[in-house]
């Protein structure tokens, strides 16, 4: 009897086990598609250029896109609730130039850095309150945030401000080497943001409420979950990530610049969608968004390797986005028919 029971699962065979897996984790499939595309890109580039998959290149892939990764983490929270945040690029520019200006007027980094993070979170709070308590569509509310952040950035300074602060520069200049691989504190911050984001999303009641709100706001409310607080919080998190990205980008470029991140919100939205997050909410992974950043970064690197126009990046990302949207539309249509 026992023998039979233990034998039974083995008999299931690979096909069936893949079946149970996909059944349990159907929502991971788009992320797998992103991973497949990433591998395809990396392998293809290596075969074509011969010197693409070097530790140096791969390390740079993380470091050059650290700010995008941080923004993508925040955006994932927002999009999983079926919202959208257009303000991230300009919030990043504002906190970056604001921080640079504070530092240049002699404010120490220990105060400047928290101020940057808090000011990003405050713009997020404004958006969240408009969305939740005044019934403003996320698109419009975050549009106000976009205007506000960009304008404030120029209010702080019309031109770039160099950063001399040793603490902030340390974030970028320190290279922790493992063989030929290296990572800077900014890269660690980005990975940390991904890790914290993933744990919060999957292991905390707040994170599960984020998914619940995206699945069905009304059901979440009927279940007694704290919907209003959660909806405000995701925008605060996105704003906070905007502040952190401002710090990282300032460290990376050694200066604050009010024109930073123009159009970045679109890149980030595209990255999150390519990473497998459904724009209609309820499904998505912070880790998937990280993959999305790598896909984006790889395309960019390949294009610069080829010596082609960087504008190809946006065209290819746009096409990938289209592909994913159409696939998602098909998935949603199928699940609608299923229920």
């Amino acid at each position: 009897m026992t023998a039979m029971e233990t034998a039974a699962p083995a008999k299931k065979g690979l096909g069936e086990r893949v079946g149970t897996f996909t059944n349990r984790h159907a929502s991971v499939l788009p992320t797998f598609a992103a991973i497949a595309i990433l591998i395809l890109l990396l392998v293809g580039a290596e075969l074509y250029f011969g010197n693409f998959l070097t530790p140096r290149n791969m390390s740079a892939l993380l470091l050059d896109n650290a700010y995008l990764m941080i923004l993508a983490v925040g955006m994932t929270f927002v999009i999983v609730t079926a919202g959208i945040d257009l303000s991230v690029g300009s919030v990043m520019a504002f906190t970056g130039i604001f921080g640079a200006s504070l530092l240049s007027s002699g404010v120490p980094a220990v105060i400047t850095i928290p101020v940057m993070l808090v000011s990003g979170a405050l713009i997020g709070l404004l958006i969240g309150v408009l969305v939740q308590h005044f019934n403003v569509q996320p698109f419009i509310a975050s549009l106000a945030g976009l205007f506000l952040g960009r304008g404030l950035a120029f209010v702080v300074s019309l031109s770039s401000i160099r950063v001399e602060d040793p603490v902030v520069l340390w974030l970028q200049s320190t290279r922790i080497r493992i063989g030929d691989w290296y990572i800077t504190p900014t890269g660690i911050l980005a990975l940390l943001a991904v890790a914290v984001g993933a744990v919060v999303m999957h292991k905390t009641r707040f994170g599960r409420t984020v998914y619940a709100v995206g699945g069905s706001e009304q059901s979440a409310r009927l279940m007694g979950l704290k919907v209003p607080r959660t909806k405000v919080m995701v925008y605060v998190i996105s704003g906070l990530c905007g502040g952190l990205a401002g710090l990282v980008l300032t460290a990376y470029s050694g200066a604050g610049y009010p024109r930073n991140g123009i159009g970045t919100e679109l890149d980030v939205i595209a990255i999150v969608v390519i990473g497998g997050t459904l724009l209609t909410g309820g499904r998505g992974y912070v880790l998937g968004s990280m993959i999305g950043v790598f896909v984006y970064g790889t395309i960019k690197t390949i294009i610069s390797f080829m010596g082609a126009e960087q504008s190809w990046t946006h065209i290819i990302v746009g096409l990938l986005l289209l592909l994913f949207i159409v696939v998602q539309r098909a998935i949603v249509a199928r699940s609608e028919r299923g229920s």
Binding site: L266, E309, S311
Partner: protein, 354 residues
């Protein structure tokens, strides 16, 4: 009292107030000088400079009426400007020949029309959310424009092209006549045919419209095509103004200003009833606000802060919660005047979620 009730009263009042504030703050604002039989001044500049935004906002009005949104207009402007200037700039053509410029404009606008049709296809046939569907082109469009210009800012010296943006017809700028013509054309098409009414029906109640036999797919598609085409013309005017195709700067944030102008003009983002006259007022308000900010000596780069405040004020005024506050404050006010207390909408309070 009837005047106050008219739905264009508040948008128009906002515009007039803005202009009055300007004149009071700086009488020069209202001064119009005559040079060579042509009018110049801050007000004339507003009429001239509002052309691109006006055209984009016209298209956006139609798209919003169908409950949609078109984020790609800025990118379409960039593409159309790039196409037009590349044709004019090509070695085989003479930039000062009217024929070349006309061909360039026609080709550019046709490309824009195709891009609009593409958006319409995604929304009306594939059923993709408008925000997302138009995001694709918003992202890829600018890249394509950069490719067309080989990544450079293509500059040309073409008299016929410059005339579009800075020339004068009789006493007023030519650009003003361009947007006026399109306001009239769109107005006539929407209101002299049944297109406007059917568009509103689809925007207000898509299912009822379907049951009444309205071809909603075609109507939605038409709105996106119109939006793309008008953005294409706007792109040409923009390029004519700076005498260059700048794929990064052309139409930057214009989708957002256009949405703002449409909302200021009294058309709801929820779709349905739209007002072209309202959009005209909305665009002039946005443009006047922009000029005001410049006039106040604020660097143009900082103007988004003011627009952020305007957007927040507008959405707050429209929000149901503020309406409720307004009503309860109003009721209390009347109550203290000794009048009967207005009943505070019992249905709304009663229906808790479900």
């Amino acid at each position: 009292m009837r005047l106050v009730k008219h739905r264009l009263f508040w948008p128009a009042a906002a515009l007039v107030t803005l202009l009055i504030v300007n004149v009071v703050a700086n009488p020069n604002f209202a001064r119009i000088t005559v040079r060579d039989g042509q009018l110049y001044g801050a007000l004339i500049d507003i009429l001239r400079q509002s052309a691109p935004l006006m055209l984009v906002a016209l298209g956006m009005t139609l798209v919003i009426a169908t409950r949609g949104i078109d984020l790609s207009v800025g990118a379409v402007m960039a593409v159309s400007g790039a196409v037009a200037l590349t044709i004019i700039d090509s070695p085989s053509s003479n930039p000062n020949s009217l024929g070349t410029v006309l061909i360039a404009i026609v080709v550019a606008v046709l490309v824009a029309l195709v891009l609009g049709a593409w958006n319409g296809f995604l929304v009306s046939v594939l059923g993709i959310q408008p925000i997302i569907a138009t995001l694709v082109l918003m992202l890829a469009g600018r890249g394509a424009a950069l490719l067309i210009t080989d990544g450079f800012i293509t500059t040309v010296n073409s008299d016929p092209l410059s005339f579009i943006a800075s020339g004068y017809l009789l006493i007023l700028p030519f650009a003003f006549f361009v947007w006026l013509a399109f306001v009239i054309i769109v107005g006539v098409i929407e209101r002299r045919t049944a297109l406007g009414m059917l568009t509103e029906a689809v925007g207000i109640n898509p299912e009822a419209s379907r049951l009444a036999g309205v071809r909603s797919r075609g109507i939605i598609w038409t709105a996106y095509i119109a939006s793309g085409t008008l953005a294409g013309i706007a792109g040409v005017i923009y390029a004519a103004n700076i005498k260059a195709a700048d794929a990064n700067a052309a139409g930057y944030l214009i989708e957002l200003y256009a949405i703002l102008a449409v909302v200021l003009g009294g058309t709801s983002l929820m779709g349905g009833k739209f007002s072209i006259a309202g959009t005209v007022i909305g665009v002039l308000t946005v443009q006047a606000l922009d000029s005001t900010i410049l006039f106040l000596g604020v660097p143009p780069a900082q103007s988004p802060v003011f627009f952020a405040v305007v957007v927040i004020l507008v959405v707050l005024v429209q929000s149901p919660r503020v309406h409720r506050w307004g009503r309860s404050v109003g009721a209390r006010f009347r109550h203290s005047d000794g009048e009967a207390d207005a009943p505070s909408s019992p249905e709304r309070q009663k229906e808790v979620a479900r």
